[in-house]
Symmetry: C2
Subunit: 449 residues, 2 copies
């Protein structure tokens, strides 16, 4: 079993960031070569994948040459130095077109870098371009964007998942070894899982969100997509404060299987595959009623916060929105304020209820997404013969950790019907090392090593 | 000019808490005598004023005797020891009926004391009963309550203002020297001003709000009503952490007159009277647009938070609400959530805009209420020949300081047409001593000394 898509393999397929960094330092590659190979692969494959919206060949090559000069001169900025990186098309990059996947911002060129982009630059990373986002990140399918839908490298008729759709496709196709995404309800982890790569949504606020176009202020997280958990950790470490926890703790990570049936119905083949990948674990369940409250809390908070961002555009130029996004915004605009107040209260109570699951376990394991990548445009599907909304299914197992602000990693966990599925690992803030140690220990069969 | 209402004078008219405390310690009075005189006065005057909902004669006398025993035994709990106090009818008192002014809670008897009531008891205060509140504190007029309207001692056909309506009437009529109230948009300061007494809304959270029935969680403040600023300070000091600031600072309090026209139209006679009472001061204005934003922010936040409290009652038993309160709740239930999100964002920006006024001044002075007490039930009035909503007028100069959580004191500032008007003093949190020093320095003509 391999987790490389058949149709698309790029220069970074099967490579690790640590390996690339080693090559750069041993003279086996230059950043200019890596960047050129990324640009060539994007030129070759992007017409079929639509992973990239804007490619900055000139800027990337200039940055790569600077990186090479610095490294040659002994100035080493760390593991991302000279490594090509893609950035989701709603994270501001000074001087480059950033469109939020929307006709509202068709020609938008930010004046300043987002905080996380500035950190990328300080780390010496080479930004090659922007990746397709669901319009304003408002959708987990990744197939509604002014730039058109991103396509899944495993099957271009399937959705990548979203909203960090192009970031998932770009890493999965090996066009870049690393991409930034944002995750409000799963927007990093869903495309990572459906495209067969790793994706990490840190704890709330762990990567700075300034200069990132908001979807829902109290739910938005910046995250990373890469080929493996190790690469996610490496990139994350460059974008946040130093991780706590020492290596001496890491033998004692207690992982439990969180029964996904308590959250949402799942395709039994997906659940079986992910559970098998996780291996034998003690099983825990969410308390009765918590899943429904988590879903309602998520939807209410996101609806109100998102319309707060878009109300003026909604009034002034509704026709510029994608019709599906527009309809969703209009429904969200009707959510009454008292429900938002209650949702924010419920959120505090949920933190206690779910927090108790961590009293005896460090990490919860569950599927990232309970279905395989649906065909582009599909909105209703069946699970076990019962109709299910695709959006609800995509978000069901990721959005709870946004409500609670918990760090969550997805790693590849095999395939079902030739399409990848993801294993998700969740912990309390501060327990990030446990997540990555669990990922190292579990390392499902068939994942890149 | 006197600020004692003609029709109602009680045993505590013209008395100060410090004076009462002195009498208790010098053997010139006992708590039992003071309490009995309060109970007698309540019995005599309450039928006309409707200031009290529930009177706890037995419990009060028992507490008074305990206070006398303690004082006689040398156990001195401080300035409130043995002093009769009234408590607004939505602050929980263990074992006493507390109704929230609503038929929804007609027979409600709390099991535990509110935090502020527990502090009153620790201070040795004698709780004589509960005072009329506008139903669920949801109204600044004080004339819609399951217990009927409270009446203004200066003219029983006039409203007291609210929602701490009975607390204002009880102190103004000299039935008790001190009453607790709550203040979400002015509910302590409005009845204090319209009834000619002092009222202090501390900084947000300064007096604990646990066990107080919520109106709007982020706007609710517990406060005190008494005959003078000194008595408010004294009571406040028993209900909060020790005040900062030393006496050595107090000569340098810089007070500015905040032009009330920047907030709302005012009855020119009221504005003149209050301005004259404040004396000659440097004048400052709110920045353009801030007043309108403050009003909208206040209304949006309160609407959403209040309905969050009452949505279940609103669905299950709407007929138990006062019709006007019901109608207001139904309008508030329609406020969309995205407006709440924007209001909470605006609130943060307003704190900066208004905070700048304190760069060169310690205290802002302005009218507490820009009109005199309207007739009971009046909802529309005229200012300078233009129609004005009574509720909007009552709240216009007090609610900004709830939005921003700033401490604000009202002190009597004379009368207009035989009805009292109030001068309001506002400062930054932590600058409470400046407020009370300003009150001491200004001491408008005709106030009790």
């Amino acid at each position: 079993m391999t987790l490389t898509p058949d149709h698309f393999t790029g220069p970074f397929t099967g490579r690790t960031i640590a390996g690339l960094a080693d090559d750069l330092r041993r003279g086996r590659a230059t950043s200019a070569e890596l960047t050129e190979s990324a640009l060539d692969a994007i030129a070759a494959h992007n017409p079929a994948l639509n992973a990239f919206v804007t490619v900055d060949a000139e800027g990337a090559m200039a940055a790569a040459r600077r990186a090479d000069e610095e490294l040659a001169g002994g100035a080493d900025r760390g593991p991302l130095h000279g490594v090509p990186v893609a950035v989701k098309d709603l994270i501001m990059i000074a001087g480059l077109r950033v469109t939020m996947g929307s006709r509202h911002f068709a020609g938008h060129v930010p004046e300043a870098d987002a905080g996380c982009v500035a950190l990328l630059r300080e780390s010496g990373a080479v930004i090659v371009g922007t990746t397709t986002t669901h319009e304003f990140a408002y959708g987990p399918t990744g197939d509604r964007s002014a730039a058109g839908p991103a396509r899944n490298p495993w099957n271009p008729e399937r959705m990548t998942g979203g909203s960090s759709a192009g970031s998932g496709a770009a890493v999965a196709a090996g066009l870049v070894p690393l991409a930034l995404g944002t995750d409000t309800g799963g927007s990093v982890r869903i495309p990572a899982a459906l495209c067969g790569v790793a994706g990490f949504k840190p704890a709330y606020g762990a990567i700075p969100a300034d200069g990132v176009f908001p979807l829902s202020g109290t739910l938005d997280h910046v995250g990373v997509l890469a080929g493996s958990a190790e690469d996610c950790l490496l990139a994350y470490s460059c974008l946040t404060r130093p991780l706590g926890g020492g290596a001496e703790d890491l033998g004692r990570v207690r992982v439990a299987w969180l029964d996904p049936a308590g959250l949402f119905p799942g395709d039994p083949r997906v659940v079986r595959a992910v559970h098998a990948a996780a291996g034998p674990l003690k099983e825990v369940r969410l308390p009765e009623g918590v899943a429904a409250t988590l879903r309602e809390t998520y939807t209410t908070i996101q609806s109100c916060e998102t319309v707060a961002v878009h109300a003026d555009r909604l009034a002034a130029a509704p026709e510029l929105f994608d019709p599906e996004v527009l309809e969703r915004l209009r429904v969200a605009a009707e959510v009454p304020g008292w429900r938002y107040v209650r949702a924010m209260d419920a959120r505090a109570a949920l933190a206690d209820a779910v927090g108790a699951l961590f009293d005896h376990h460090d990490v919860l394991a569950l599927p990232t997404v309970p279905i395989i990548a649906p065909p582009l445009g599909l909105r209703e599907t069946e699970i076990d013969g019962r109709p299910v909304a695709v959006r609800a299914a995509l978000l069901a197992m990721t959005s709870p950790w946004n409500v609670l602000g918990l760090p969550a990693l997805t790693i590849p966990a095999g395939t079902v019907d030739g399409l990848p599925v993801g294993l998700q690992l969740v912990a309390r803030p501060g327990q990030e090392p446990s997540i990555f140690e669990a990922a190292r220990t579990i390392r499902p069969a068939g994942t890149r090593t």
